[in-house]
Symmetry: C2
């Protein structure tokens, strides 16, 4: 299959990040404003080229996380999302992008003092329901990242990655409600969470929030795969979804 005179083409590789968090009870993503061509001035996912030929792709994702969002990848959930390689996706030439999905607990303030010209949290809903433009194929990557998160909430303990070290069941519920875009019954949710062995475990004392009775605190348990799973409500009957 390989002729003697043939040699494989070399391509450039970027690593792009879909960093999701919960702010003001809404699912938000970190976007930067591009300072250089192409797509100068447009909003894009944070990311950049591999540093050198010896850099591991996952390491590059950690580096971008630090450089562009001032986040420590070791503390975050970080998983590969997919690789986007349409020949026309980058006007500079053949550039393929390995996308990663990162989940961060709610950061109180927008990221500042970072490398990118402008970086800020944007509600995902505003981006995906409207027709806002993102650079390159980043809208598709974002869509895939959000769908990955929605799906993984059902079968994995991903939701705890949106929370701080300790959290209340109500806070965990907010994660599910924001990511899935549904409302859940707090009482049933409470029991459902605790019916999954190893999902969350108690963490001692109490804390109060708006008004009511103080809530117990929990931390993430050892289990990353949920049995039984938490299934998304709605669509029980037949709909034509692709």
């Amino acid at each position: 299959m390989v002729e003697d005179s043939w040699s494989p083409p070399e391509v450039l590789v970027t690593v792009d990040l879909v960093i999701l968090t919960l702010r003001e009870a809404r699912l938000q993503v970190l976007l930067v404003e591009r300072g250089v061509e192409p797509y100068r001035g447009a909003r894009a996912l944070p990311g950049g080229f591999l540093n050198n030929a010896g850099e591991d792709i996952l390491d590059a994702a950690h580096r971008e996380l630090r450089e562009e969002a001032d986040l420590d990848g070791a503390q975050l959930h970080l998983e590969q999302l997919g690789t986007y390689g349409a020949p026309s996706r980058d006007p500079r030439g053949r550039v393929i992008s390995v996308a990663y999905l990162a989940i961060a607990p709610g950061l109180p303030e927008p990221v500042a003092g970072t490398d990118a010209a402008e970086a800020g949290w944007v509600p995902v809903e505003d981006l995906l329901t409207g027709w806002s433009k993102l650079a390159f194929d980043h809208r598709q990557i974002l869509t895939d990242g959000v769908e990955r998160a929605r799906s993984k909430l059902e079968h994995s303990a991903l939701a705890t990655a949106f929370c701080d070290g300790t959290f209340t069941i109500a806070e965990l519920q907010q994660v599910y409600e924001a990511v899935w875009g549904v409302e859940l019954d707090p009482r049933n949710f409470y029991r459902k969470i605790q019916a999954v062995p190893g999902f969350v475990e108690p963490a001692g004392t109490d804390r109060r929030t708006t008004g009511g009775r103080p809530a117990r605190l929990f931390r993430a348990g050892p289990r990353t795969v949920l049995h039984p799973p938490l299934v998304r409500p709605g669509r029980t009957t037949s709909e034509g979804e692709r």
Copy 2:
């Protein structure tokens, strides 16, 4: 972040395929024997370098499917599995591999007359329970591919991709049993399948197999997402899985 004199490193890209099928009621994968260094003589997943800088990655997967397995990707389920980019994974230098998962209906004979020196179906169980070696990080890629298939059987209509155009419910059950490595009750399975709207639809006449009453034929329905899902039995109680 990019100095004026700096330019991003160029890397080589291969596309590797995890092609799964069902033969003799067992989950099998197509492997080739490498004819060139590195890993000459070792078994590997079929695959190869991008053809030229303008070739789409998915197109390259289709091309490899045709060249190395004589299969038509348009007829098969084909999805991206992930990208493997450890700097040390290929002794030739910086080569990253985009892996694809393909699902094929049971082919009666081993593939012959193809490009690769040797190509043949190997039971997945033999590879993953034993300590058989595969070239590069292909054992990891295979593991990931099998786990992807196992998981997607629960929530998608992937199982029909293992079957011919028309199939019986018993044949579909064999898919689940082989991929999951469990035994299922035929009567409950039968009703469970038909309880999922759009999963399978009737296809006319009958056919008989070993002995018993002839079974109805079905074809894949329009639905690719299963509601309700088919959940894997077993592991209901807490186990420490990763």
